[in-house]
Structures are given as structure tokens and as C-alpha cells.
């Protein structure tokens, strides 16, 4: 590990350092490779992405600086605004639904003693599956009759068949259900951890004071659970803003279709960069994604500060 000193005077030189200096040398030795990594694989590519967003690079010719042209094109691209709306639809509908569901499940599951581990496992299992694989299972579920499981069920109880992924209105919600399903187990476990971290003395005191279930939930549980909730809101928001695996796999014959009605920003980035090889334009789209995610993260900090 002492690559800094290699010749025969090793002991002499090394011993001249004080204990404090030696520790500083150790520290920087430990950090040397990680600093190279973060510099080359995180920071340099970040600046490069910003720079590329101001070029017309297309893999064939060298990148040329074209100012904000990509951003102007983006703002005037109707597909972008469609994709922008879709992305926020995933976020604004998906996050509240998955949070309310996971809280309710965690709240009641936390009190269940009978077969607790088994029921918890039922909810947690989907978290351990591969999104790409399960997207195909859900895609099969949504197929028209007589193939699709959901339409088979609807038919058996006398309800009309639904088009699901083939319709402009139902496509996005259908994919969103898959994404909510995939993330629910994780959120439930985190909520349960948060619930258990609340000291039971608070509950006992509230009971002695004669507070009912509802009052305890509103006055003790929810306020004390705020850090957990904020964490999950941000985690889940970022997840929905970056949705890709499910959409890509559930709409492979017409990615993001029908008529771009399910296409999120990351899928647009993927197509611009790796189907059209319009790297500069795609870089501009990633900068937009970065900005949106940054705003969401800063909102989290702001919410936690004003507590």
C-alpha cells in the first residue's frame, strides 16, 4: 500500500514523518483511485454532457458548437411537449397513489402478528424481480381476449374487454400500474422501518391521555414519520421521472406508443441518442432531465429545512 515510497531509504524517509503526517498520507493513498474514478467517470462526463448539448454531434462528423440551437429545437418540438406531459403524468399520478397505498399497507401490516413474515414477503417479492422481465408478464396480462389474463377475468364477470396498452387513454395508466406494483414492496418496508423507529412510549402516553386511533395517527404517527415520507416522495418521484424499463419492454413494437402517448423523457433520450444518433440533441434532453431532477431534490431539502 505504500506506493509513495519505494526505494531502499524507505524506512528513513517514512520515519521522518510525524504520526499525523503519516495518517494524512494514508488518507490520500486510500482516496487516490476513487478520486480518479469520480473525476473520470462522474465529473468529466457531466461537463461533457453540458458541452455536447451545445453541439450538433452525430457520431459521424466532429462535434460543432451551435449555441442553444438544440434547446430551441427542443422547445419547438411537439413530441417533446407530449413527452414532457407524459413524464409528469407518471410522476403526478404514480407518486401519490404508490405512497398512499404503501403507507396504508405498512400501517396495518405493522400491527399484524398472525403470519406477519409471510404477508410481508408477499408484498416484498415483486421488489426483487427484474423490471424488464415483469414488464413482459404485465404486457401479457393486458393483451386483448382471449390471451390477456385481465380481459379474461373481466369477461368472466361479465364486463366489457378493455384495450389497455393499445389505447391512447389507457396505455400510460396501464404501464404506471406496473411501475407502482414493482416499487410498492420497497416503500412498504421503508415505511415499516419508519413506523418502528417511533418510540412506543409516545403511543403509551397518548393512550393514557385517552387519544383515539385516528388522533394518534394524525398527531403522532404522521408528524414523526415526516422524514421517511419525504425520503419516499423524492425516491419515488425520481423513479417515475426516470421510468424506462417498463415502457421500453411493454411497447417494443412501437416504443412509447401508441402515438407517443406513453413515451417518457428517458425513452425519448434513448431514441434520439441510440436510434437517430443525434447525440447533441439527446444531450440537451438529458440536461432538461437533470434540471427537473435537481429541482425535485432541492424541494426535498427545502421541505426538510423548514421543519
Amino acid at each position: 500500500m505504500s506506493a509513495a515510497v519505494s526505494d531502499t531509504s524507505r524506512n528513513g524517509l517514512w520515519d521522518r514523518f510525524s504520526i499525523g503526517q503519516k495518517r494524512v498520507i494514508w488518507a490520500w493513498t486510500f482516496l487516490a483511485l476513487p478520486i480518479v474514478f469520480y473525476g473520470a467517470i462522474r465529473f468529466y462526463p457531466t461537463f461533457q454532457a453540458f458541452w455536447l448539448s451545445f453541439t450538433n454531434w452525430d457520431l459521424l462528423r466532429p462535434a460543432q458548437f451551435i449555441g442553444v440551437q438544440n434547446y430551441v429545437t427542443l422547445v419547438n418540438d411537439p413530441q417533446f411537449w407530449q413527452v414532457f406531459r407524459n413524464t409528469f403524468a407518471y410522476l403526478i399520478i404514480g407518486t401519490p397513489i404508490s405512497l398512499v397505498l404503501s403507507f396504508l399497507i405498512a400501517y396495518y401490516l405493522d400491527r399484524v402478528r398472525f403470519m406477519h413474515g409471510f404477508i410481508r414477503a408477499l408484498y416484498f417479492l415483486p421488489f426483487l424481480t427484474t423490471a424488464a422481465a415483469m414488464a413482459w408478464v404485465w404486457r401479457w396480462f393486458y393483451q386483448p381476449p382471449p390471451i390477456g389474463v385481465i380481459n379474461g377475468f373481466l369477461g368472466s364477470v361479465g364486463l366489457p374487454a378493455q384495450p389497455f396498452l393499445r389505447s391512447l387513454e389507457q396505455g400510460l395508466p396501464s404501464i404506471m400500474v406496473t411501475a407502482i406494483w414493482a416499487g410498492l414492496g420497497f416503500q412498504i418496508i421503508i415505511f415499516m422501518a419508519g413506523l418502528r423507529a417511533i418510540p412506543s412510549t409516545y403511543y403509551e402516553a397518548a393512550r393514557i391521555d385517552g387519544l383515539g386511533e385516528w388522533a394518534i395517527l394524525r398527531k403522532i404517527t404522521l408528524p414523526l414519520l415526516k422524514p421517511t415520507t419525504v425520503f419516499l416522495v423524492v425516491f419515488s418521484s425520481i423513479g417515475f421521472l426516470r421510468i424506462f424499463d417498463q415502457v421500453y419492454n411493454m411497447t417494443t413494437n412501437d416504443p412509447g406508443g401508441p402515438l407517443n402517448s406513453t413515451k417518457p423523457l428517458v425513452l425519448m433520450i434513448y431514441q434520439t441518442a441510440f436510434s437517430s444518433f443525434n447525440m447533441g440533441y439527446a444531450a440537451a434532453q438529458t440536461v432538461v432531465l437533470f434540471t427537473i431532477l435537481l429541482i425535485v431534490s432541492l424541494l426535498q431539502l427545502w421541505v426538510l429545512r423548514t421543519r
Binding site: W26, V112, F124, L125, F290
Partner: protein, 285 residues
């Protein structure tokens, strides 16, 4: 304070069974069954022949492993399974080593620039992968990393999340332990590896579980960086396989089952550790 999640002690001493409880339990149970319905149908259909796919009964009339034999026979899935495992294990080992080394250094060493390094690493959490894939792709093209294991692995070899997690845990290790080791004449690397690391094994296992699962299921970057079928990871391979099978749902379900079974089996063995790991990381992270 070691961060152990409070155990399942009784919060309420009501042991009497009330009707509300029974209703809540039943609703929870039904919800749980709905949650695993996609998994049940996936396994059920993977055991059906092409003619039985339209029969939506959960228990196959004549279950057989023929689909598995067919899907596994050409060796593609074996190869993808190996690729995914190799990549996920290598990235996990790298993260366990480097994230904890950096976390330890930032938690236990005093030196100028420590706070700056910490903030710099933490700030990379703000940068989404999607923004970096284009530069990474360019870098991989120039250095010949496209279509290689290293190309799939390099972006994840260290993570800010893991470093932050490990720093949090190393801060709970008492300095006395490390001082005692120093008096014994151990060098700093040995102190970290032999003294400090064993004290944070719960955090290490949480980090390992997260990293492994994240890389095992990763789709976006492996899809971009691999072109040849031999280097696909399991999710990318499955996706291409499913497109190729078109409407042969029993084959697609078999592929999906093959991609899902390994993590589910691991889960059954390690359920307690995984749940605890997720809780730990969630509380600290």
C-alpha cells in the same frame, strides 16, 4: 449507537382479537395475493404448452418443463445468466471494497480537504445516469469498451450512495478500537480491513444486497453498451428473446421465470437479512 432496527416488540398490549383486526388481516392477505398474482401466472404459464396458453386457469392441466428445456437448450440464457452474475458480483465486490474504504477515510481521518472530497462525492448523487450515458458511450467507443464486461461494469464500480452509507456507519465505530490497533503496530490498511470492517457487517451486507440487485436487474446501460448477443445481460437478453418470440407467450413467460427465479430463491434463503438491509439503508440513506 449502532443502528439496529427496533425489533418487532408489541406496541399495543391488546392481545384480544377484535373484528376490525380480522377484516384488516383479510384485506392485507388478499392484497398480498394480488401482489404475487403476476408471478403465479408467469410460473403457471411457463409450465403450459402452446395450446394451453388460452386456458387461463392457474393450475396447468398438464404441467411440463418442456418450455424450460426448449428455452435453455441453445445455451443463450445460460450465457446471459453467467454474464449477469459475473457483472453483478464484480461490481458488488468493487463497491464493498471502495465505498467502505472511502467512507472509512472520510469518517475516521482528519486532513485538509476532507469535507471538500465528501461534498464532491455526495454531489454526484444529483447527476442522473441518463445524463452520463452519452459521454460514457463516447468514452467506451474510443477506448474499445463497447461489448465488453468492463464496458458494462465500469460506471458502477463505486457509488456515492454506498460511500455515504458506509461513512455513516463507520462514524459509529469507537475511535478507541482503532487507537488500540495502532498501539499494536498495525498499519492503517490492516486496521481498516481487519478491525473496522468486521464492526460494520450489517451495513456491508445491506450495501452488497443493494448493489447486487441493482446490477442484476439493470437494463438501461447494458442495453446501450452491448451489441452482440453473447454479451447481453439477462434483462437485455430476455428483452431481445421476447421480441423474437413475438406472440409465443408461454416461451416469453418461461424466459421471464428464468430471469426471476434466481433472485427469488436467494430471497427465500436470505429474507431476514434483505428486509433488514433495506430498512437500514432506508433509515440511514
Amino acid at each position: 449507537m449502532t443502528a439496529t432496527v427496533p425489533s418487532t416488540e408489541f406496541k399495543f398490549n391488546t392481545s384480544s382479537i377484535r373484528p376490525g383486526r380480522i377484516i384488516a388481516w383479510t384485506v392485507l392477505f388478499i392484497g398480498g395475493v394480488i401482489m404475487i398474482t403476476p408471478l403465479l401466472f408467469m410460473f403457471s404459464t411457463s409450465l403450459k404448452s402452446a395450446g394451453q396458453v388460452y386456458d387461463l386457469r392457474l393450475i396447468p392441466a398438464a404441467p411440463s418443463f418442456d418450455n424450460y428445456v426448449k428455452v435453455l437448450s441453445d445455451g443463450r440464457f445460460m450465457r446471459w445468466f453467467f454474464n449477469s452474475t459475473f457483472v453483478a458480483v464484480a461490481v458488488t465486490l468493487s463497491n464493498v471494497f471502495f465505498d467502505s474504504l472511502v467512507g472509512y477515510t472520510l469518517a475516521k481521518f482528519q486532513f485538509r480537504g476532507r469535507y471538500f472530497i465528501f461534498l464532491a462525492i455526495l454531489s454526484t448523487l444529483m447527476i442522473p445516469t441518463e445524463m452520463l450515458v452519452i459521454p460514457w458511450y463516447l468514452m467506451s467507443a474510443q477506448l474499445g469498451w463497447i461489448d465488453s464486461y468492463w464496458g458494462i461494469m465500469f460506471p458502477g464500480m463505486m457509488t456515492a450512495f454506498g460511500t455515504f452509507l458506509m461513512k455513516q456507519f463507520f462514524e459509529t465505530v469507537p475511535d478507541d478500537f482503532l487507537e488500540a490497533a495502532r498501539v499494536d503496530g498495525l498499519n492503517e490498511f490492516t486496521i481498516w480491513w481487519k478491525v473496522a470492517m468486521p464492526l460494520v457487517t450489517p451495513a456491508l451486507s445491506a450495501l452488497a444486497i443493494f448493489t447486487f440487485l441493482g446490477n442484476w436487474t439493470a437494463f438501461f446501460w447494458p442495453l446501450i453498451v452491448t451489441n452482440s448477443r453473447d454479451l447481453y445481460t439477462l434483462p437485455v437478453g430476455l428483452s431481445s428473446f421476447a421480441v423474437e418470440q413475438s406472440i409465443q407467450w408461454e416461451m416469453i413467460m418461461t424466459g421471464a421465470a428464468i430471469a426471476t427465479i434466481p433472485t427469488l430463491l436467494v430471497f427465500l434463503v436470505l429474507q431476514r437479512y434483505i428486509v433488514r438491509g433495506v430498512m437500514l439503508a432506508g433509515l440511514k440513506g
